[in-house]
């Protein structure tokens, strides 16, 4: 299988999507600027300004126009450059994209894909957040956050084929990550989690970039004879806990790793579901690894203490194992 970066896999997925003439992309700096993270580089030249729509810096408008166009038979891709900017479009996402199907009695739907990115690199408080749990909280949305190039491409295809609004969460620190990508047409369904690594001592439940850090932690611990099983959720809504619960019933211990704040974050939902459905198998309290709960500082030494690191994941796993 060819090895591609996340960026290249997404580019292939977007080119595939553009084969449908109903599809257009609307977002900031996707065309003339050449794309902030390079994903749509060259698209304007190939598809023209009618279908690669450089939008004003007006996030509500980007989402609003995409929602309307989707209702009227188009298959738009709305790009929100950074998830931090999506706050300006939350009315469109939550009150409109997510509600229109049920609020109007199922008479029409919103086949929209919103691409956006989490991420941080000394960008300070307003440019370093994750709102995964805020999207995943909303009935009517489907929310995906793949980790590998293969899943990026396969899940993007699933998202484009879906008649409901899909929030497609990427990560600025993942575009260069490489992995094998199957050739030809394939779909990775929304709502199905998967094992990223097998092991028998402890289960790590995670998604997106944290899968890669968890894999690094597992490599470190393997040298100490600790076998870590890693579950990649891939989709946050609907949340498929079947693989995680099966693993948990085998290992009886779990760490949940998510790159957002702990209180009311995605890890709270994941851990709760483990407790609710796996209580009888529990040998130790579940440990969570997340952002420290502060607005992200600019200073590098402080930022490093806020974000999730491999070392923190290793420490959490050891803590759970030592308690049982």
């Amino acid at each position: 299988m060819p090895v591609l970066t996340v960026r290249e896999a997404l580019q292939q997925a977007l080119h595939e999507a553009m084969a449908d003439e109903r599809t257009f992309i609307i977002g900031e700096d996707i065309g003339h600027y050449g794309s902030t993270y390079g994903v749509t580089a060259g698209f304007l030249e190939k598809y023209g300004p009618e279908r690669i729509r450089d939008a004003p810096i007006a996030e509500a408008g980007i989402l609003g126009l995409a929602v309307g166009a989707a209702m009227a038979g188009m298959r738009p891709i709305a790009e929100i450059m950074s998830v931090n900017f999506s706050l300006l479009a939350f009315d469109m996402i939550i009150n409109h994209a997510a509600k229109i199907y049920s609020m109007f009695g199922g008479k029409f739907s919103v086949p929209l894909v919103m691409r956006t990115t989490n991420g941080w690199t000394q960008l300070s408080a307003t440019h370093s957040q994750s709102f995964d749990s805020m999207f995943a909280h909303i009935p009517g949305l489907k929310v995906v956050a793949p980790a590998t190039p293969a899943d990026m491409k396969g899940m993007f295809r699933a998202a484009m084929a879906d008649p409901d609004p899909v929030i497609f969460i990427e990560h600025t620190l993942m575009y260069g990550i490489k992995g094998e990508v199957p050739e030809g047409d394939y779909i990775v369904p929304i709502g199905q989690s998967v094992l990223a690594r097998e092991g028998r001592h402890i289960t790590v439940v995670t998604y997106s970039r944290m899968v890669h850090l968890s894999l690094q932690a597992a490599d470190i611990l393997a040298k100490e004879g600790i076998e870590v099983e890693i579950v990649d959720l891939r989709t946050l809504r609907p949340l498929d806990m079947s693989v995680a619960l099966e693993s948990f019933k085998k290992t009886n211990r779990a760490v949940v790793v998510t790159e957002d704040w702990q209180s009311y974050g995605t890890s709270a939902e994941i851990a709760t579901r483990l407790y609710e459905h796996g209580f009888d198998y529990l040998d130790a309290p579940i440990q969570r690894v997340n952002f420290r709960e502060v607005p992200m500082p600019y200073a590098k030494n402080l930022e490093q203490q806020v974000v999730v690191t491999t070392e923190r994941i290793v420490a959490a796993i050891k803590k759970v194992l030592n308690r049982s």
Binding site: G61, L63, G64, S102, G106
Partner: protein
């Protein structure tokens, strides 16, 4: 009509025909152009809206209708006149005060009343209520309850019309209170920037809910806000159905011709409170009474009779038919079944529910 830089050919010809008919009125021109039957049809729509909503108020006090009930009473001429210019391939978006626009677009009043009663036979299966009437078969995309938000959706449908080359126009209704928020400005900018076929119809009823326009808007003439975007705009008498029809026709043709959007400010007045619970402390009874003496429905009725378009007997008979239709809608709504619990599962929330349920089946 606001002054514009350079008239198009169509505008010049309209102006010339206006000069040649200096003595004519919107009424006489419409009668010549439309014929008597169409004038009576406009009246029928206005009176149907009026009677339907009076019945809504009654059903609300009898607790057959719940939630919020925002009545359009007093503003009928704007919706009916504007929508009468639309073709089947055209689209409508509106706000939460949406009964009038839905009826003017020809939505079935049985289904509308059923929606208000929260019944399965409602336009939205009882999922939306008063603020969310819709009928996709008529390109009536719904009433929206977040002020100003739907202007952007209207732009989106207009973009689809343009990309699909349907020749369709999108008409979007909103109030004066919607013109201060960011979504209004974003929608005007996008529409003008991309020359989208949108007719923005601001129903200026002088109040943003209960806040007078002098208190809520730095610019009192809403149409002037379009000048920031070099957008064509006009301010019209929204209480005269034929004036509305005539002026908005020009806006619709302008948008359809690909020249871009138009902002229409229709001056009107809401006779009832913002919603059924409104005690109207923000305006005097005298003000309301004065506006009520210029009731657009009754004035048009009188005009039709005085011009000999319709006899008193005929128009009384038409009113009686309307009353019976409204009564029938109540019977239909009353006798209809309530929506099933499937609306509380993924199949009610998603067009394509997935194998993994988002709604916890074990929920106690």
């Amino acid at each position: 009509m606001q002054k514009r830089r350079g008239a198009t050919q169509a505008e010049a010809s309209a102006a010339s025909s206006l000069r040649s008919t200096m003595t004519s009125t919107p009424f006489s021109r419409a009668r010549d152009h439309l014929g008597d039957a169409q004038l009576v049809e406009l009246y029928r729509q206005m009176m149907l809206i009026r009677r339907f909503e009076e019945k809504c108020q009654e059903m609300y006090t009898r607790a057959k209708i719940g939630g919020f009930l925002h009545l359009y009473v007093g503003e009928e001429a704007t919706g009916v006149g504007a929508i009468s210019n639309l073709q089947p391939q055209d689209h409508i978006f509106t706000h939460y005060r949406d009964h009038g626009h839905a009826i003017a677009r020809g939505l079935n009043i049985d289904e509308l009343m059923a929606e208000l009663f929260g019944k399965d036979t409602g336009t939205s299966h009882g999922m939306g209520g008063s603020m969310h009437f819709a009928d996709v078969t008529k390109n009536f995309w719904g009433g929206y309850a977040i002020v100003g938000s739907h202007l952007l959706l209207a732009d989106g449908v207009a973009l689809a019309c343009k990309m699909q080359k349907t020749n369709g126009v999108v008409m979007v209704f909103f109030g004066d209170g919607a013109t201060n928020g960011g979504e209004f400005y974003e929608s005007l900018n996008f529409a003008q920037l991309w020359k989208l076929p949108v007719v923005f119809v601001c129903e200026n009823n002088l109040y943003a809910m209960g806040t007078p326009i002098e208190v809520h808007s730095s610019v009192k003439e809403i149409y002037r806000k379009a000048s920031a975007f070099d957008m064509k705009a006009m301010r019209i008498d929204g209480n005269d159905v034929l004036t509305v029809r005539e002026q908005v026709a020009e806006a619709v043709e302008y948008a359809r011709s690909g020249q871009g959007p138009v902002l229409v400010e229709a001056m009107t007045y809401r006779f009832r409170g913002h919603s059924a619970q409104d005690t109207q402390k923000y305006r005097s009874k005298e003000d309301v009474e004065q506006h009520r003496s210029n009731d657009p429905v009754l004035i048009f009725r009188k005009e039709l009779i005085e011009a000999g378009v319709s006899s008193v007997a005929d128009i009384d008979a038409l009113d009686a038919v309307i009353d019976e239709q409204v009564e029938a809608s109540v019977r239909f709504a009353d006798e209809s079944p309530v929506p099933g619990n499937e609306w509380l599962t993924d199949s009610g929330i998603y067009a394509a529910p997935l194998a993994t349920a988002t709604v916890d089946p074990d929920l106690v």
